[in-house]
Amino acid sequence: MDFIRTERDPLSLYQSMLLIRAYEKRLAALFAAGNFPLTCSAQGQEAAAVGVVRALNADDRILTNHRSSAHLLARGADPGRLIAEVMGKTTGYCGGKSGTLHISAKALGVVLTSTIVGGELSLATGVALSKQMLKQAGIVACFFGDGAACEGIFHESLNLASVWELPVLYVCENNQWQAFVHRRETMIADRIAPWAGNYAIDYASVDGNDVNAVLTAAEAAVERIRRTGKPYLLETCTYRQKGHFSLDDQGYVDADELTRWKALDPLRRMEAYLLESAGLSADDLAALRAQAEAGLDDAVAFAQQSPYPDSSALTADVYA
């Protein structure tokens, strides 16, 4: 039941963010309980993911990285199959061979996920070249972090996309951290979007914790790419609320910074909006939360009941 989600109404956006938050909290709980694989949490970045992914059509393609859960769920991935992949089960999107760090789901148009920082930047141009040369409708959205922007491949990818006029939406999720290093230590500027100027690529930087703002900016960017066929760089300014991965207690993170950003929590802000401007009640929200949790219960049960691959799978899928 791989159904690509493209709904953009506020309620759908919120439901998607809620699912991502519930998913991340559930995985953290499972890890804490022991005997569950480590993962990279997207908690705090829900709006940045949902706002961009929902601006895409079904025939668009997505490339993502190690922190992909939000992109996959926003696109409509089945949380049960995601958790199954994390656990290395046959029902996972990659039959358990990927594990959590590089989940791709071709049926959802989420292709070629790489955990090599910058890997998605090196592959996105080729996916876009196929769109261009095979005259297929659709653009390519490439999600990468502020850290990936420091890799040489960022420069090579944007330069080629510009010279060859490739329909790539570069989405830099600037969450202020690069594993254990603060963005500040790795670059002079605070914003990455303007770097696109060197390649004559249009760009924008948006409040990544405001899903409505992200959606609006992403829709504008996508429209421009569809119209011109040229690349665009959208920076979503957001924050990694959890450690780099499950084992990271964030001991090195400045407490004030964390507090400042938690006050900007994307779910809280969308809830305020729904209550004030969309006529939802506190009860409605509670019901939605319960719904999301129930979905996670089923997902975890599905993953846990799924079988591990047979050892014969070890040597399968190497060559076409």
Partner: protein, 321 residues
């Protein structure tokens, strides 16, 4: 059948395969400038110059291969692959497996190498063993015009990433080459360049002619050498190697690449695992020393395996050394 050079064979293969399949495209630093006739015939879209950016050239090819195109990229000299290892090894070689078989990577990476031109160690460095060691890739390295054409055509039709290495020294060698379909040479099949019964000489690329030369000199000494041209380094044609060594009982592997963890090491290990009882003498490797390729002509000659080195190794084996 016509007599053409290795360089022409490569262009013929590209012409025929681009004609046959509209999804095939060629890009790299200067390919459009240097192959104007390909541009004229197939259009600027399918034959492209690129910026000087090996990492994105390779990455673009990998992304395109996974989504419907069949790219051929010219990476110029093998040492420049050092900039493109992530796309080739971590993406092209692994993402099919890591995705549970969701993607295919029909892609060909062209790279030249081979000492003899005095251009030094940053142009002349035989790196084929790196890619044999890495999963999910295929590696070919032909020795003559017919194989260059036939293997390049097969590589372009293969649904997997293929590293296609050309030895600079062979570019202007000419040989009789078939036209069109019959020209295909299968990936994974070695060729018996000369049959013999006293010793097996295994080589690839420019070391094949070296071994044939050595075989002539050995014949004069009454030694009948079999010469095997590997042609494909991955997957290795184990059957042909084992059959030959079981016949001759003696093996010398010859290549320009460095000795340590090279193809010669792999074949020596393979044979001593699979044909141990057939071996009448130690397996010998004749390779370049484990040093960067020197530019000075004198040193470059000394660096390369030469026929007399092969003859000496064989005589050592027959002397029972």
């Amino acid at each position: 059948m016509s007599e053409i050079t290795v360089n022409d064979a490569i262009v013929q293969a590209l012409n025929e395969e681009m004609q046959r399949d509209a999804r095939v495209l060629l890009f790299g630093e200067g390919v459009a400038t240097l192959q104007p006739e390909l541009v004229k015939r197939f259009g600027a879209d399918r034959v492209r110059n690129t910026p000087l950016s090996e990492a994105i050239i390779a990455g673009t090819a990998v992304g395109a291969a996974a989504t419907g195109l069949r790219p051929v990229i010219d990476m110029l000299y093998a040492p420049f692959l050092a900039y493109a290892m992530d796309a080739i090894v971590n993406s092209a070689g692994k993402l099919r497996y890591m995705s549970g078989g969701q993607f295919e990577f029909p892609l060909v990476v062209l790279a030249k190498t081979g000492a003899g031109w005095g251009v030094g160690a940053q142009h002349s460095h035989n790196l084929e063993a790196w890619f044999v060691h890495s999963p999910g890739l295929k590696v070919v390295m032909p020795s003559n015009a017919a194989d260059f054409k036939g293997l390049l055509k097969s590589a372009i039709r293969d649904d997997n990433p293929v590293l296609f290495f050309s030895d600079m020294a062979l570019g202007y060698d000419s040989g009789r080459v078939a036209a069109g379909e019959e020209a295909l040479v299968p990936i994974g099949k070695a060729a018996i360049a000369r049959s013999g019964c006293d010793v097996t000489l295994v080589a690839y690329a420019k070391c094949v002619p070296t071994c044939l030369q050595a075989a002539e000199q050995l014949a004069a000494l009454g030694v009948d050498a079999e010469v095997i041209d590997l042609r494909t380094l991955k997957p290795l044609d184990e059957a042909t190697l084992l059959t030959s060594v079981r016949k001759t009982g003696r093996l010398v592997v010859v290549h320009e690449a460095g000795p340590l963890c090279g193809i010669g090491a792999e074949i020596a290990a393979l044979i001593s695992e699979q044909a141990f009882s057939a071996l009448k003498a130690p397996v010998r490797r004749v390779t370049s020393p484990d040093v960067p390729t020197p530019a000075s002509p004198v040193l470059e000659r000394a660096f390369l395996p030469q026929a007399p080195d092969v003859v000496a190794a064989v005589r050592g084996l027959l002397g029972g050394a």
